[in-house]
Amino acid sequence: MTVSDDQGRAGSPVLTELPEDVSVETEEGRRLAEALQDSRRHARKLLEVRNLSTQFYTSDGVVHAVDEVSFELDYGETLGLVGESGCGKSVTALSLTRLVPNPPGKIVAGEIILDGINILKLSNEEMRRLRGKKIGFIFQDPMTSLNPTLTIGFQIAESARVHLDLSRKAAEDRAVELLSKVGIPRARDRMKDYPHQFSGGMRQRVMIAIALACDPMLLLADEPTTALDVTIQAQILELIKSLSSEFGTAVILITHDLGIAAGMCNRINVMYAGRIVETGPVDDIFERPRMPYAWGLLESLPRLDEERHNRLRTIEGLPPDLINPGAECRFSPRCRYARDVCREHEPELSEREGEGHKARCFGTEPGGWIQ
């Protein structure tokens, strides 16, 4: 039996699992397993999101929180999801784990293909087994995301016990290992401690340990440092970065802080009003942003290399109401460069200079009026 170098997507006579009669102990088995892993990784993306739409049914009407969002993520890649509050970043992340509170929320359309599986087609039970095992989630506020009545050790070991079917002892050893990996000294002693005995930064380290307990392929970090002070922020980000590269975990980092995204990510998706308005490699976004909203975000950052005492620039106005988004460009009411065409049609995400660099703007399209 050979490993075909097929695209792996059609799923015809492609080897997707190691046959039972081949043991990884043998030389051949190990080679086969590695080849299988390689072919899988090259064959497809870790994550493909296509036309994902998530809506919330409220008493005021249907809120289009995430509107036809599509993006891809490679194995081991770090993707930043940036945008201001209420633009749909967190709802996108919750949709990826199918944790959107229902009611009122619902994923109404689209496909989320994680490692070849369309997770929107899974049963609730199958989805539950996927969470924590293939997708790890780090929440924003470590102060409230740990259960105050359970020990740190229990909470870290829980994921491993639920998914890996480890014994109590083995799961505990795994938890100690993880706890020291995330930089908690005297890990074994601290297993029996409760969350209130940990500081905010340490709790976020614990959350990271929990998220990585089953060695997931994808780590979702929803503003992991917002609740922490700046010095701790840097440590936590460094930890996420080093552990994700050590474990080979792909990361989707949600943040409103472009500075964080610049330091962490390979690629960035800029979101606005439930849509991706610009996407591309991190250097392209920072050096050649092709969407006025992205400029606005960049300009609103404090910079060390500019004269001080200048007030920070802000983007005038508020994000639009997502209940009845019109047919216009959603940023046009706040855009300095908007013309009539922007108020009549919404531009498509179209190619710009740079690999995979796309933007949703008439003005910066070839022949547009903004250069």
Partner: protein
């Protein structure tokens, strides 16, 4: 990172024993003298209930004919013929009978609360966790049980099943206990539902979901431990009610069968002598009162200890 780890490792730092929920609660409980007194009497009652029969020279059903004859077949008053609290009209030692009654009352306390927990916890947890129609259905059912007259239900149940195997278990007591439990779980169900309603909105529930913990495990391992404080308090405060109901039933002749006697039936048999030999009704009444008051004090103390936020209110 290795450097950081080193730097944080100060020898001798953080050696103070960390405060746990139970340690903290015990500290607060210790300051509450009433609760300690209550707790002491509860322990004493439990001790008597367990070891009582081995401590008394008499059995609850042995008739002391010798002393009775010497007393002209009258009720023996306290401190006569070696009977500390006297005897009843049949010459049975009142103290021994009271100590046997403690057994019954403590069994009521335990069995009724077990039934309450067995029904109330799952009902309340399911209603609070799932919400929606199941919640409405379970809570309306709870309302119906609550609205039905307790005593009537217990009397009907004990009379209907009196002749069955179940009705005869434990001298006819098990049936009464279970019947009391079946009308007392309502408060527990409501309490647990309320707790779960607020707890399930906590972020750690979302976090547990995000690592793939099943609903059942979230409720049993993550939420119920957070509700344990109020549940313990409700159990402790529910005990006096159960003891009182049992005493009431015994007084009107339901439940314990002669020659065994609970405190309620002792009071009942002493009632005709209330003028001539008041000790026959006085001591059982005192026993009931001590049990009720100590459980109530202990329960109140536990509530303050386990939920410091509540302290000073009510």
């Amino acid at each position: 990172m290795a450097n950081q780890t080193q730097a944080l490792e100060v020898p001798g730092a953080l050696t103070r024993k960390p405060a746990s929920l139970w340690g903290d609660a015990w500290k607060r409980l210790r300051k509450n003298k009433l609760a300690l007194v209550g707790g002491f009497f509860v322990l004493l009652l439990l001790f008597v209930a367990i070891f009582g029969p081995y401590l008394t020279p008499y059995d609850y059903r042995t008739q002391d004919f010798v002393s009775l004859k010497a007393n002209h077949y009258q009720v023996i008053p306290p401190f006569h013929f070696g009977h500390l609290l006297g005897t009843d009209e049949l010459g049975r030692d009142l103290l021994s009978r009271l100590m046997d009654g403690a057994r019954i009352s403590m069994t009521v306390a335990v069995v009724v609360q077990i039934v309450v927990l067995l029904i109330g916890l799952p009902m309340g947890a399911a209603a609070g966790w799932f919400g929606g129609r199941l919640d409405t259905f379970l809570m309306r059912f709870t309302d119906v049980v609550y609205a039905f007259p307790d005593l009537l239900f217990i009397i009907l149940l004990s009379v209907s099943f009196r002749e069955t195997f179940f009705g005869k278990a434990m001298d006819g007591l098990l049936l009464v206990f279970v019947a009391i439990g079946m009308v007392s779980w309502v408060t527990m169900a409501r309490l647990v539902r309320g707790q779960l309603l607020s707890l399930k909105e906590q972020e750690y529930v979302e976090a547990a979901r995000a690592i793939g913990v099943s609903d059942f495990r979230i409720v049993t391992r993550h939420l119920l431990p957070n509700a344990i404080g109020p549940v313990i308090v409700a159990v402790t405060l529910g005990i006096p009610g159960a003891i009182l109901t049992e005493a009431t039933l015994a007084f009107i002749g339901i439940g314990v069968q002669a020659p065994r006697a609970s405190w309620g039936s002792l009071a009942f048999t002493g009632e005709p002598y209330i003028r001539s030999q008041p000790h026959l009704i006085l001591f059982p009444a005192i026993a009931i009162a001590i049990a009720l008051v100590s459980f109530t004090f202990l329960g109140d103390g536990l509530r303050d200890a386990l939920d410091p936020k509540l302290k000073g209110k009510q």
